[in-house]
């Protein structure tokens, strides 16, 4: 994979909130990371480790205090203007006043796609997430898992280069969550999108990812990057594979090491 040029390249990104105030927080410090085309990269770490901040830095929803983010060689702001990002949040964030179909069309409307093109793309996306029958339902008539599938369809409707997902399955029950992970892998396999995914679930990270980025807190920094070489396509049997448990253990130990490491590095700063 590494022979390609990276899609995302984070160069010494640092983000400080409330600089100069008593509530100054160094959310992310000196992060270096490269993500390659078609990769599924997960950011994992304890709460407050800056994984969501890092995701927002990549998406140019916040600007770094120092350092920078390049997307396909462009500044992240230009990438946002070029509509390179699809976003999925923990809450589906669907608009109550729009039907499922119209929610999926929202980015297309904003970006000036023609009516026919919008309808065609939305239909295709709803087929992809298997919700064609619910096109004319309102979001609140759907279950949490279905709403999140609509959010994914919406994020992919304009074929962005990168899908940024901030704990998208965090609010779902365990069974729905595992099914959604499988569906996401299917969709990812069909679209060849690069995914950057934030989670605090170790099994979720291992099951989904090509690489897991383990972060430690205060200040948020990358502690280790673990390759997940489990074969694809992955399915329910993957979760019972001994290698799955090996990776699980590896990530867990890494997280623990990252946590104990923080006290003597930055504890009294």
């Amino acid at each position: 994979m590494n022979e390609n040029n990276p899609v995302v390249s984070i160069q010494g990104a640092t983000k400080v909130f409330n600089e100069g105030g008593t509530d100054r927080v160094q959310a992310v410090k000196d992060v270096e990371l490269e993500v390659y085309p078609g990769e599924f990269v997960t950011l994992i770490g304890p709460s407050g480790c800056g994984k969501s901040t890092l995701l927002r830095l990549i998406g140019d929803l916040i600007t770094p205090t120092s350092g920078g983010v390049k997307v396909n060689g462009k500044h992240s702001k230009q990438a946002r203007i070029d509509r390179d990002y699809g976003m999925v949040f923990q809450d589906a964030t669907l608009y109550d006043w729009r039907t499922v179909n119209k929610n999926v069309q929202l980015p297309l409307e904003v970006m000036g796609y023609s009516h026919d093109d919008r309808e065609k793309r939305a239909a295709k996306m709803l087929r992809l997430v298997q919700l064609e029958e619910f096109a004319n339902h309102y979001p609140w008539q759907l279950s949490g898992g279905m709403q999140q599938r609509v959010a994914i369809a919406r994020a992919l409707a304009f074929e962005p280069a990168i899908l940024l997902m901030d704990e998208p399955f965090g609010a779902l029950d365990e069974m729905t969550r595992e099914r959604m992970q499988l569906e996401l892998l299917n969709i990812w396999g069909q679209t060849s999108t690069t995914v950057i995914f934030v989670t605090h679930s170790i099994p979720e990270a291992v099951f989904l990812s090509s690489r897991v980025v383990v972060m430690s807190a205060r200040p948020g920094r990358i502690h280790a990057i673990i390759d997940i070489d489990l074969p694809r396509p992955r399915g329910f049997e993957t979760r019972e594979d001994p290698r799955f448990f090996e990776r699980l253990t590896e990530v867990r130990e890494c997280l623990r090491a990252g946590e104990s490491g923080k006290s003597h590095v930055e504890g009294y700063k």
């Binding site: 998406g59 929803l61 976003m87 980015p107």
Partner: protein, 275 residues
């Protein structure tokens, strides 16, 4: 499977929905009838004088008798209420949209708006009579407009501002401009806030029109009729005019409710689903 089931059940479910709604209304209708009977009985048993509290039956008869006087009076006052309501809402919505565009306006204006909203604007009625002329309907309309302006403006500003941060971030990730945010997110988000203010406003506007007519106005006005009849101890006449006023208030409210349903069908279905 689901689709066939729904079509099959459709006529049946509509019927039962109507029956259910009627059944839900039954206690209210019963209580109304009981209340009127008790009123009638109390007046007879305690021999309350007609000028203190007329019997419902007498009020009913007077209403029939005075129908051709109180109804045109009601329509006259209704015109003032609706006119003032229209002026107040257009201004309220317009200024709210301006504050969404220029935050400085909102920061400057909102504290005053909230302060003025909690003052009795009706107290200005004699002033407006003086400014616009006691028989000029605009003196009443301006009071109504002032009364409805503030809640409508304040609520609309809230609705425009209190959007889900994630929903806002989503649009930012599409690199949209502020105009798109306003059209696609802020305005639809503000509609429920706006309509709850319009509903309050519809009731307030009828109150505002009638009460400001108590301070003087043309003889065709309902408020003037009520205060004159009361001064002459013609309380059955006053009560029958009050009935017209109640009817006006309820009708206006229901009209706004219907418009709300047409503008935001999703909101109604959502509320029904939440119940």
């Amino acid at each position: 499977m689901t689709a066939t089931e729904t079509t099959f059940n459709f006529p049946h479910s509509i019927l039962s929905a109507h029956r259910q709604r009627f059944r839900r209304l039954l206690p209210a209708i019963g209580l109304l009838l009981l209340g009127l009977l008790a009123w009638e009985a109390v007046v007879i048993i305690f021999r309350i004088e007609g000028f203190l509290l007329p019997k419902p039956s007498v009020i009913g008869a007077t209403f029939q008798d005075q129908f051709l006087v109180v109804l045109p009076a009601g329509l006259f006052t209704m015109r003032e209420a609706v006119g003032g309501f229209a002026i107040g809402s257009v201004l309220g919505i317009g200024i709210a949209l301006a504050t969404a565009r220029w935050t400085l306006i909102s920061e400057g204006v909102m504290p005053f708006a909230i302060a003025v909203n909690s003052t009795p604007i009706i107290a200005l009625a004699p002033i407006m009579n003086n400014w616009f002329g006691i028989t000029n309907p605009f003196s009443k309309m301006s009071i109504v407009a002032l009364i409805v302006f503030f809640p409508i403006m304040i609520n609309t500003v809230r609705g425009l501002r209190q959007v889900d941060p994630d929903a806002l971030e989503l649009l930012r990730s599409y690199a949209t401009n502020e105009r798109t945010v306003l059209l696609k997110l802020r305005i639809p988000n503000a509609l429920p806030y706006l309509f709850s203010a319009l509903k309050i406003g519809s009731t307030l506007s009828v109150i505002g029109a009638i009460v400001s007519e108590y301070f003087g106005g043309t003889r065709e006005a309902l408020g003037v009729y009520i205060s004159q009849q009361a001064a002459l101890f013609h309380f059955a006449e006053a009560w029958s005019a009050i009935m017209v006023a109640c009817f006006m208030g309820i009708t206006f409210y229901l009209l706004v409710l219907i418009v709300e349903r047409l503008v935001m069908p999703w909101h109604f279905a959502l509320r029904a689903a939440e119940e």
